[in-house]
């Protein structure tokens, strides 16, 4: 018997969906449907979203997190997603990696935020060890003390999702749409948004190298089974992630006077 195959056969299967340039709202809708309506494990990789888009966490308040006037003026879409966490602005140079797992997928993993976050940290530690001093700092992925990946999670009775927006590159002008949030990690140390970020393209040779290293790390825990996004069954589900309307943003602006 081939021992390598024997070892692989005890690893759980994870469906792998690779996408290019799918709009982030569509990605979020797919994720929410897979989390709520499907029992299998999934990894979704999406390279870029067509236009710069602001994505807030479930409890995000626009007046506190974004410069609403310029967002409205420049017609930047604003999405409220179904997971927790903070606000990001994503674009075609953002790489999205999402893991959706059932309770048994990672042995002995407690379905609470910190254990899940720590486990993903070990995954990326393994993937990125050749490129720099990677660490998980206060729930952000950093090289040294510069953030390059923002995380968010949602945990149900028997499943969890962890998704990350990785800054392959970014336009500094887009970052101006985001306010300095009330809650910031301690390691940010009063730095401006630009000062505490870094670009992955300055550290890792190419997007495909990053993705392959990530999938190699994932393969130590799962048997990856490629699936085309078109082949995913469309179970009826009403997702909660949505685009905020201009009226909602204007109302928030008027009601807070910001």
């Amino acid at each position: 018997m081939n021992l390598n195959n024997a070892k692989k056969s005890v690893l759980p299967i994870m469906n792998l969906v690779r996408m290019q340039g799918v709009p982030i709202l569509d990605q979020l809708h797919l994720e929410e449907r897979l989390l709520r309506c499907d029992l299998k494990n999934w990894c979704i990789v999406n390279v870029g979203t067509p236009q710069p888009t602001i994505v807030m966490g479930i409890s995000g308040k626009p007046s506190e997190l974004i410069n609403i006037k310029s967002v409205i003026h420049n017609q930047v879409p604003v999405i409220r997603r179904f997971t927790g966490g903070g606000t990001v602005i994503v674009d075609k140079e953002t790489i999205f990696v999402t893991l959706i797992c059932n309770r048994e997928a990672v042995p002995l993993l407690q379905l609470y935020p910190q254990p899940i976050m720590s486990w993903t940290g070990t995954l990326y530690q393994d993937a990125l060890r050749d490129f720099g001093k990677f660490s998980l700092r206060e729930n952000d992925y950093v090289f040294d003390n510069l953030k390059f990946g923002g995380n968010a999670q949602s945990i149900t009775k028997n499943k969890w999702i962890h998704h990350t927006s990785f800054l392959w590159d970014y336009d500094e002008r887009n970052m101006e749409y985001l306010k300095h949030p009330q809650r910031t990690p301690k390691y940010r140390s009063e730095r401006s948004h630009i000062e505490f970020l870094c670009r992955m393209k300055d550290i890792i040779p190419s997007k495909s190298v990053f993705i392959e290293k990530t999938l190699n790390s994932l393969q130590k825990h799962f048997v990856l089974q490629p699936i085309k996004s078109d082949d995913i069954s469309n179970a009826p589900y009403a997702p909660s992630s949505r685009l905020l309307t201009r009226q909602e943003l204007e109302h928030d602006l008027l009601s807070t006077g910001t």
Partner: protein, 155 residues
């Protein structure tokens, strides 16, 4: 140290609470508990529901609570709301079936009540029960204490 532990044990007994040494999470004796770490306080055909001290401790600082609307139906084992902590939303699972008659609106302004007072000020919903027999499937405080110890030991 031994005398302090003895004092704590006697005080806990007097106050009708139990503690288990590993995590020192509080478990109240008169409540019922679900494996998903919600508690129920029954009063006739009504029940108050919240999350346990063990749950809030493992979740971290709660920054937002998503509450259901008054009047909706909840089902035992189904999610009815969520809490946000540490960049994660975590479903709250109803330990009973029935109709939501009241929600704790204070949690909108002070979600940290779930951390600071999980069994009192941090209550989440009140439910008019539709099937009191479901309470038999829930754990009492001793069973829940043991359940938490076993769960934490496994991980």
């Amino acid at each position: 140290m031994a005398s302090r532990l003895l004092w704590a044990s006697r005080a806990a007994s007097y106050l009708r609470i139990s503690t288990f040494n590993r995590a020192f999470s509080t478990v109240l004796k008169d409540l019922k508990y679900a494996e998903t770490h919600e508690w129920v306080k029954v009063d006739g055909d009504s029940a108050t529901v919240g999350i346990t001290d063990h749950a809030q401790d493992h979740l971290g600082d709660v920054v937002y609570v998503e509450l259901p609307e008054v009047g909706v139906t909840v089902g035992q084992g189904a999610n009815f709301g969520a809490v946000e902590s540490v960049k994660a939303t975590s479903d709250i699972i109803s330990p009973v079936s029935g109709k939501v008659v009241e929600v704790n609106d204070q949690l909108s302004e002070a979600p940290g009540l779930v951390n600071g007072s999980p069994y009192e000020k941090g209550w989440i919903i009140k439910v008019k029960l539709s099937d009191e027999g479901e309470l038999n499937s829930l754990m009492d405080s001793d069973k829940y204490t043991k359940f938490c110890e076993e769960e934490d030991t496994k991980h």
